[in-house]
Symmetry: C3
Subunit: 159 residues, 3 copies
Amino acid sequence: MKDVYANLARLGLELPEPPPRGGLYTPIRTFGRGLAWCSGVGPTRVDGPAVTGAVGADLTIEEAQEAAKLSMLNILAIIERETGDLNSIRFVKLLGFVRSADDFEQQPAVMNGASQLLLDVFGEADGLPSRSAIGVNQLPGGICVEIEAVFERRDEVEL
Amino acid sequence: MKDVYANLARLGLELPEPPPRGGLYTPIRTFGRGLAWCSGVGPTRVDGPAVTGAVGADLTIEEAQEAAKLSMLNILAIIERETGDLNSIRFVKLLGFVRSADDFEQQPAVMNGASQLLLDVFGEADGLPSRSAIGVNQLPGGICVEIEAVFERRDEVEL
Amino acid sequence: MKDVYANLARLGLELPEPPPRGGLYTPIRTFGRGLAWCSGVGPTRVDGPAVTGAVGADLTIEEAQEAAKLSMLNILAIIERETGDLNSIRFVKLLGFVRSADDFEQQPAVMNGASQLLLDVFGEADGLPSRSAIGVNQLPGGICVEIEAVFERRDEVEL
């Protein structure tokens, strides 16, 4: 039986304060039976600047991977606040947009920064969803990566 | 009990004629139990030109917000034609792509033009879905915004 | 009763070897009841180079349509490997990203290369899903198109 909270602690990770809403939307919207959609989240910090810039021009791939990991921690913080139980979550889908210099082609490597965290914390059954990684020329506030997620609450599905 | 049609009338809004299909796809595809996916829709007009251009270069943010609102009215027109009852609809997700000059960073503000309409007409419970706002360098026909939507038919879900 | 395999043979098409995973993700993730999400797939070839370049600059629209068709064949190959029965599949949604020169506006025409294949092989009821076509400045490895798909397994839904 996995324990997301123990795994986070083992990795020396703490959930950040959830980022404030960046527009007119609901952070997490449930649908169907036990499904939920998490709005796009970036590498923002409540107590500091977001990670901005185009990967391949302003940021290295390593910096962008760290930003993708931070974005995923923000997603987990939002899900924790909304559901109160990360142990019941199974990830279905990630859609990751990487702000890319016109000649930067390694969007999947950037997104691996987010995916490796999910895999380490949730394990393969719940933490290795389907995924697309896409390059774009801009993102809100100039952030370098934005990730949206679809997840399933196993406790509700199995009832 | 909300009434979408009364709210539209109160705001002085009329549903436009639904836009024609722009390729080989189905405008609205149902899936699961009472869920439906609405194909990407832009600020087109059946009797006039679409709103084209990159925001931050060819269009101001206010013009783009109006275009996002028009796109959402087109989505409502399509859903009305396909389902015949906007009062049974609950929005789950919006994915908005904003054609952006390379230095334009306010995609969420543009998408708020669409989201404010949904909120005003459907209320918070049904009209404030999860959302992502993404900048891109081009869109079909040079339109400035394209929005796709996932919604739920409450009448089918509750049966 | 349609037969996907007979239709493929009639068109002289063979499913390619499924492309290898391009990062930390699961190629197909099931969710809800009989639903599945296929990770983003491009015009890669197991035994040769992928189709790379920006449409409108490095590639013609016809070359990009062929690449979209190849991407869809790769999707079918992955679904065949994972489910073993393409005849039970109904497509719900395609999301297509077309790597576009800044002045290229015909993303839907490019995606029609993929959609025409689905329509020819699966018929309108199962092969004409909802769709969005989006232009972007870059994609993984410089490929010219990336497509993700949501589908439903009719055999599981109808049980």
